[in-house]
Symmetry: C2
Subunit: 181 residues, 2 copies
DNA sequence: GTCTATACTCCGATAGAC
DNA sequence: GTCTATCGGAGTATAGAC
């Protein structure tokens, strides 16, 4: 009843790319953990980059959905809160959190990846969705920072002091305040 | 009247490490840009890691100075503002901005680097320097995010819309508000 | 779908001449 | 202080048997 090999490759790759970085993770390592040889991976993915592509596309479509949702709503305080909660939930969900985290940590290595460039554009659009045309520089910075705040819990904070749940609630709170500026 | 070779290596390495990532930058590239061979680099630095070490140690001592300064002051609103401005200036100054930026972008690649671990500890200490013992989770997250805000201008924001000076002022403002929470 | 075997390239690093 | 030459290893990727 185990998953198919393709999914297991994605899973292992995502974890190692996140922990060690994309370039520092070799296909040999991934194959070894999976219990096959390097060559076997090439049956499932054309190249190393193809593994990345399969991961980041999931994230892109998630962001596109969220953007469409935001645009379909009135720009009220209630929408803001619901948006922040949805975004935070997406970052947190086991499936997508991993991908978001991987992206944060590998911006340099993947800086020319076409899908990543699209993801960045969508994030910018999301950040400015609650910004009025005549907004001040301070407001623009605040709003951009709000999205980042939702990712920040996992590595800005020392997990010894606060529980995961506390951190989650706190980042949502901080993000909302930044958006309300 | 040009600088000595050692400084030029640091300068080229810093730029390329920041733009492309540490692992993606080879010594051959650095040597080529400098106009020498790889082997020549080894006269100036024992290993590739040694180049990194020479860079990050500058940043560590800068943070240590700042931490000592903060601790020598009363925890007043005036100190807060002066601290934020000093920190922002340090991030901004051509010399150190590059190093800070390099560190942000290579956290994964350098995650086991002893000096980087120290730098992270100092940053945590700085962030918590304005946090009362009984502070809420929201306050802790805000304060951690404040330091990050001072770095954020360069890559969260689209430089087309706002001037560098406007972004600088805005990040200082946002950081102060986060610290005052 | 997975294997062995291998091609080819690049890496960081060293030895030793100049 | 810089060079040429080279080492050993690891990387991605492919060919072809099973």
């Amino acid at each position: 009843m185990r998953e198919d090999t393709r999914s297991r490759i994605q899973e292992i790759a995502l974890r190692r790319f996140t922990e060690q970085g994309y370039e520092a993770t070799s296909l040999r390592e991934i194959a070894e953990e999976l219990g096959v040889t390097k060559a076997a991976l090439y049956y499932h993915f054309k190249t190393k980059d193809d593994i990345v592509a399969s991961l980041v596309e999931q994230r892109l479509s998630e962001l596109e959905e969220l953007l469409a949702w935001v645009r379909s709503r009135p720009k009220t305080a209630r929408t803001r809160r619901e948006f922040v909660e949805r975004y935070a939930a997406g970052v947190r969900a086991t499936r997508h959190h991993g991908i978001a985290h991987f992206l944060e940590r590998n911006q340099t290595a993947l800086r020319d990846h076409p899908t990543l460039i699209e993801i960045r554009e969508r994030l910018m659009e999301l950040a400015s969705e609650f910004t009025e045309p005549g907004a001040s520089a301070t407001q623009r910075v605040s709003h951009s920072l709000a999205l980042f705040a939702l990712h920040s819990g996992k590595w800005l904070m020392n997990e010894d002091e606060l529980s995961e749940e506390e951190i989650h609630q706190a980042t949502v709170e901080v993000a909302l305040r930044l958006l309300e500026t």
